[in-house]
Structures are given as C-alpha cells and as structure tokens.
C-alpha cells in the first residue's frame, strides 16, 4: 500500500480507531480479544518467547481463533518480565507480570475462558495506560508513548496512534523555518547528554546553502547502564524515523543515517523492518505524501567504541574510519559527514519531535521546569526494587523516582548514592534526594543528565570501587588521540587502584584531585573532559570513605578485599583443612584436626578462606 496523499493517511488512521480504543481504554468497539506480549531484548532474555509459545499453544488447544497475539516492545517494567497485557473489549486493559508458561496457560483458561482475573499476578503501572486501581500517576510518557503498546513491526498500528501525522502536518502546513521555530519555542534539548537546544541545532544546518545535507541519528548508546534508546528502537522504531523525516524536512537534508551499535541485533532488525515498511507505504522515498520532499534512511553499524557518542567521532565512524574526534569548530552543521552540513540527534530527542509538532510547542513547554522542558526517560537500575525505564517530567525529584516509582531500595537496604551521566557524570547522595532533576541542577551538583542512566547504589557499594570501575571504562575507551585522556585516565586509574589495595596515602588524594582537574581542562573531546567526573564527584560527596581507605586502610563496605587482614580464630577452628586447600598462594598451614595458621606475609587477602570456612573460624578485619 502506498500513501500518496495526506488524506490517505488520515483515512488509514480512522480505519484503525477500534484497535486504538481497545488498547487505550478497552472500549466496546473491537470485535476481538488481544494479548500483548513484551518481546524486547530483555523480555526475551527473561523468557518471553516461551510465554508467547505457551499462549499460542493454549489458544490453539481451546480453539480461541479470535484472540490476537501481539508482539510488542518493552513497557518499561523490566523487573517483572515477561509481561502480558490482556485487552478484552468492554474491560479496562489488565497487565500481568512475572509470567511463566504455567501462568500463560492460566491466563487463557482462567481469565479468557472463565473471566476469572488472576489478581495476585496483576502488576499496577505508575503511568496512565489503563488506570489500574491505586496506581500513582508519576510518569508521563512522550518519547515512550507507544513502547509496549504497539506492534513495532506493523506500521499501521503506529499510524493508528497518530503516527506520521506530524509529518503530514509539517509537509502540508508548515515551512521548514516554522518547524524549527516550533522546536525552539518548545524548549526541546538534546537527550543524549549535552542538552543543546534542538531547534538551534537544526537552524544552523538549515542556514547552510549546500545542496547535499545529512541527518544522522545517534543510536550508539554507549553509556553502560542506559538502554532507553534500545528500548525505543525495539518498541517504536517509526517514531524515530518520523523524527528524522521532520529533521530532514526542516534542515533541508534528503539523506538520513542511523548509526547504531552492533551489540543491539534486535533493534537493528526492527529498524531495518521499519525502514522497509515506511518505504513500501511511501513515507520514505521520493515526493513523500505528494509533496516535493524526498528522504531516505540507511543504517550504519558501529563496532563498539564509546567515544563514537561524540558527534565528530561518530561522523568519522560513519565514514568507515577510526572513530576519533576532531576539534570543533568546524561544527558538523558546517562540515559534517563527507564535509557536508550534518545534524546529529539522539534517538530519544528524535522520538520527542513528532509529539511536539503534533501537540504544539506550548503543550510541550508547559511540562517540566523553566530551563528543562518536557520529560526525560531514565533507566532506573542497580540496587532498586522495580528496575526499569521510567519517563518523568523534568524536575521530578530523586526521591519520587526511587521510592514512589522504583519501589525503594533492593532488600530495603539504605540508599547511598545514585550515578547519573554514566562514565561522564557523577554521583548524587542522600542529601540530594529532594533535588529536582533537570539539566542545570545536575550540572551544579557536579554531574550531568547524560543519556539518562540512573544507577542506584546502596550501603554495600564502595564509592572508591565505583569510581575505579568508571575509570577502567574510560581508560579502555579512550581513543588515544590526545595525551591528557590517553595517559591521564590511566594514571587516575592507577591512583584509585592503589587506594583500593591499601597502598594509597593522603597525598594520593591530592594527586587525584590535581590530575583530575587538569584532564578536565585539557582533553580534546567530551570523553576526556568528563572522564574525571566520577572520581571528583565521589571524592567530594564521600570524602570520609576515601579518607578511611587511605588513612586507616579500611573499606567500610567490605568491597575492597585487599584492605582486609585475615586470621584464624583458634577457638572456632576444627582443623578441617578446607581453608588450606583453597588458598591459592599456600599461605595457610596446619594439620588435620588442629588449629590452622595464616602467614600474613604471604597472604594476598583474596578472601577464599573466609568464603569456604563453614565454622566461621576466619576473622576478617
């Protein structure tokens, strides 16, 4: 089917209003029941494929031919995967979590056949999909609006939910400059890290008079601990394509490129499918919707380099080269891909664009805070009960996110810190629980918004160890082009390593601070300039913990194993020889049924004896 005209798009949308009503409210209009199974990467890893097969089998067995099984993306509640949503005409949609084969069968035989709702398996959602009883509406979904609610492989479902309507509006009623103005008025800022105003970025490319311009979508989600882009591309790829089309129209680009990590095979598959389908429907290609605007999109694969999140490095990688950054200016809007004006936008930013065009700048700018408009998707992960993707208005506090939406800390332990901005960011501690989260407030606290990874840490996490983890990451990912980053990050890592191994001293802390500040000021690109942030930030907020490591040679959380001294408690030791056999350096001596002894001169503090002893006869201090 080819949509040649805006009117055809509207008719197609109207045709599917039954489906939309069923998904949104459970209205009577639809003539069939639907089961939506969340089948993004994480869903599949949790067993969604088995659940899907079990549902299919049960439906066939009961001859329920009118029940439609739909594969959807991730709804964001990763903690209770696999998930199944039941949509029965006339009833509000129901949402089941922790579904296994047995529960899948029960959903068919009990819920569908007997109308018996399996309440104990119901999961209430904290955002408005179906208004389950008692759910707090903390979330507000713009970018993730369709994730987990539509079949990403069916373009008509996207169209049913106002898909490509923004494109139609732009092509029929707005000039490119009006689209840019709309974005400027909306206050949308880049969601990938820096927070640069999207409208201004587009304007810069628009102003260049070159015949050939490019629109690049940065889907090289490299921040360890953030996966909103993957989820968006797997669950709602068309929203990103539509955002790119709008960017192409506004900036005057006719060629779009999606640069995506090779580590995301499922997202690549969904995208490839979506691009083919959009072409088939005439929404990509020549003279789209009967206008003079032509646009095509192709996929380029990354190959694992964090620095490629930096736009100049990314462009080099797209050109098939080593992904090394170059200095700016010239900015990509002047000389980007193949030296032509290029706009680089992040996945989440682009997914926001169609909603803004459709619902207006004022609607968008009414959400959020004075400087940060709209919503932000966060990957709420780590030591939290309800791990998952959340989308909240800018200005939501950490407390609301962690305790109201996230359900609190895993095993009810004490909250210690949260890392935002990944390896380029820093930590927020207990005292910041009530700080509204927005671009500026985070920057003031020495961290940054980043792509939205929010790693929650509890009392058991050692902050020096965490800083060391991030430095290991940036050290490995440094491209090697500039000295401050190539050598500086390695030296920073070594200093931290010394601290965790008990050979640090108070002077080491001074060196850390001095070197960190120097790297910040002298590195070439964003990767190096932000690499010391995790160290500087943890040193600032967890001074005492660092001090204990270097002065008392103690790790209060017990993570830094080498700071511990092990000894045998003579009264508890029964002489079972287990510790002697497990010791990798042979520093434990003793005969069977006699008290054993650890030679501290040889001991490497690996803790193997402590772990193996069944009689609690090894003392760790």
């Amino acid at each position: 089917m080819v949509i040649n005209h805006g009117q055809d798009l509207i008719s197609l949308r109207h045709k599917h209003q039954g489906l939309r009503a069923l998904r949104e409210t459970g209205s009577h209009k639809a003539d069939h029941i639907e089961l939506l199974v969340g089948m993004a990467t994480c869903g599949i890893a949790a067993g969604a494929k088995d659940v899907y097969d079990a549902l299919e089998e049960a439906l066939a067995k009961e001859h329920l031919t009118t029940v439609k099984l739909v594969r959807v993306g991730c709804v964001g509640s990763c903690y209770c995967e696999p998930t199944v949503q039941v949509n029965i005409p006339g009833y509000a949609p129901m949402y089941y979590g922790y579904v296994d084969k047995t529960l899948a069968k029960a959903i068919v035989t009990e819920h569908l056949l007997k109308g018996k709702v399996l309440q104990e398996h119901e999961v209430s959602m904290s955002f408005n999909r179906s208004d389950p009883p008692g759910a707090k509406k903390r979330q507000f979904r713009i970018a993730l609006r369709n994730c987990g609610n539509i079949d990403p492989e069916n373009i008509e479902e996207y169209i049913a939910f106002d898909g490509y309507e923004a494109l139609r509006m732009a092509l029929t009623t707005y000039t490119p400059l009006e689209v840019i103005q709309l974005l400027k008025d909306s206050g949308l800022r880049g969601r990938g890290g820096g927070g640069y105003p999207t409208g201004h970025k587009w304007q810069a490319t628009y102003e260049k008079k070159d015949a050939m311009k490019y629109m690049i979508c940065n889907a090289d989600e490299g921040d360890p601990g953030a996966y909103m882009d993957r989820s968006l591309l797997e669950g709602d790829p068309h929203s990103v394509l539509e955002g790119m089309l709008l960017g192409g129209y506004a900036t005057g680009a006719s060629q779009g490129i999606i640069y995506i990590r090779a580590e995301y095979p499922l997202a690549i598959e969904k995208l490839t499918h979506a691009i083919a389908q959009a072409k088939e429907y005439g929404l990509l290609g020549e003279q789209i919707l009967g206008s003079n605007f032509s646009f095509s999109i192709e996929i380029r694969l990354g190959a694992g380099a964090f620095v490629c999140g930096e736009e100049t490095a990314l462009i080099h990688s797209v050109e098939g080269k080593r992904g090394e950054p170059t200095k700016k200016p010239p900015y990509p809007s002047e000389k980007g891909y193949l030296k032509k004006p290029t706009t680089v936008n992040n996945v989440e930013t682009l997914a926001n664009v169609p909603a803004i065009i459709r619902q207006g700048a004022q609607w968008f700018s009414s959400i959020g805070t004075s400087q940060s408009k709209g919503t932000k998707v966060f990957a709420l992960v780590g030591k939290i009960k309800h791990v998952g993707l959340v989308e909240v208005p800018m200005g939501t506090t950490l407390r609301e996110m962690i305790y109201d939406i996230g359900g609190g800390i895993h095993e009810d332990k004490a909250f210690k810190a949260v890392q935002t901005g990944g390896p380029s960011g820093g930590v927020l501690s207990k005292e910041h629980l009530d700080t509204p989260i927005e671009y500026e407030s985070l920057k003031d606290l020495g961290t940054m918004m980043g792509s939205g990874g929010m790693i929650v840490m509890d009392e058991d996490n050692c902050m020096v160890d965490i800083a060391k983890f991030y430095l290991q990451f940036t050290m490995d990912e440094s491209c090697g082009k500039c000295t401050p980053c190539r050598i500086g990050t390695k030296r920073l890592y070594e200093l931290l390593d010394r601290i965790t191994k008990g050979t640090g001293n108070p002077h080491t802390l001074e060196q850390l601070a001095f070197l960190g500040t120097n790297i910040k000021n002298s590195a070439l690109c964003g990767l190096g300039q932000t690499a010391p942030n995790p160290v500087l930030s943890t040193m600032h907020y967890f001074k005492e913990e660092y001090r204990m490591h270097v002065e008392e040679k103690k790790c209060p959380t017990g993570v830094c194993k080498e700071l511990f001294k092990y000894s045998v408690l003579p009264d508890a030791c029964v002489g079972c020889t287990a510790c002697r056999r497990v010791c990798p350096v042979g520093c434990i001596s003793g005969h069977p049924k006699m008290v054993h002894f650890i030679d501290l001169n040889l001991c490497i503090s690996c803790g193997a004896c402590y772990d193996v002893c069944k009689f609690h006869a090894i003392k760790k201090a």
Binding site: T41, C42, I44, A45, A46, C78, Y79, E81, E221, G222, D223, P224, G225, A226, Y227, R230, S231, A262, E263, Y264, P265, R300, L301, G302, A303, G304, A305, F306, S317, V318, E319, G320, K321, R322, G323, A379, V381, G382, K383, V387, G388, Q419, G422, G453, I455, V456, M457, N461, I466, F469, Y470, F473, D476, C479
Partner: protein
C-alpha cells in the same frame, strides 16, 4: 604477539567462505565508507579477523592494509584471535557491576580454568567481557553467543555453562 603472515596466499581460508565475503564486497559501491560493514560481515563468516584476512580485505577493496588494521584494532567488537565454539560474554555495564558481575566473572573463570580473553583447551569456550548489552533490568547478565541470561550469580552461572557443555556431546 607475533603473527606470521603469509603475504601471498589467502588460500589457507576455506574457499566458499572467501567467495561469500568477496561477493558481499563486490555488491558494495562505496567500499571505503562501508569498511566497518565489510569487517562485520567478514567476522560473521570467519568468526575472527586474522591479519591474513585483513590483508585479503585490503586487497579486494583497494583500501590500504594499514587503514584496515587501524579500524579493526580500534573497535572492541572486532577480534583478531580465534574464539572457541561458544563465547561467554560477561556484561560489564554499571548496573551489572553494582549487582555483582565481578563475582560471576570469578566463578566463570574458576569453572573454565581460564582467564579473561582466553579459550579453553578443548576450544569449547572463550571468556570475554562485553560492553553494556542494555539488559540492565536483568543484571548481572551473561551472554553466551547471542543468548542473554539474566540474574546471574556464582552458582547459576555455572549451570548455564553446563547447558553448553552438554550440548558439546550432543552436537
């Protein structure tokens, strides 16, 4: 590491694999820009990118071998070492790290009796760290070949290995 490179003879590779790669390279118009895609395809076909193969790619695409090597060595996804039949990837994303990926790593090293980036003697398993695979909801995660296993700990990580060990006798 010293590689002995046979500079003239790429025939040490199975012919049908070389043909498949050449056909792919042939189908691409702008070979220089698509070098990363070509390398992905080559690694998919051969399992790894030894220097001889890089040289073959350089000659077929007319891209300098130094540039091909520069790209291969830059990106972590490309490997120049032959891998075992199954690659066990331990996710080293932050979410996995704070939830104990390190313990899982130690357990797997012990179980396979190899260090990171090594292959077991029987060529069955290669142990690798992998950059965040975005399955943070299932942290800590381990990916064996293309399959992701979530909520790993020291004991169930060993169980996962056994699944593949048994397959060894079966396949």
């Amino acid at each position: 590491m010293v590689h002995t490179i046979n500079l003239t003879d790429p025939s040490t590779f199975p012919e049908e694999k070389l043909l498949a790669l050449d056909a792919y390279i042939d189908s691409i118009e702008d070979k220089e820009q698509m070098l990363i895609h070509i390398l992905h395809r080559a690694q998919h076909i051969f399992g790894y990118l030894p220097p001889e193969l890089q040289l073959h790619i350089a000659r077929t695409t007319k891209i300098p071998a130094s540039k091909v090597y520069g790209v291969v060595s830059f990106y972590s996804y490309f490997t120049q070492e032959k891998r075992g039949r199954h690659t066990v990837n331990i996710c080293m994303g932050t979410a996995c790290f704070v939830k104990g990926a390190d313990q899982v790593k130690q357990a797997l090293k012990q179980e396979l009796k190899i260090s990171m980036d090594e292959t077991t003697e029987d060529g069955h398993f290669t142990l690798k760290e992998i950059r965040c695979i975005g399955a943070c909801g299932l942290a800590p995660a381990v990916m064996v070949d293309d399959k992701v296993y979530g909520h790993m700990n020291e004991s169930n990580a060993r169980t996962v290995l056994h699944l593949y060990k048994e397959a060894k006798n079966g396949d």
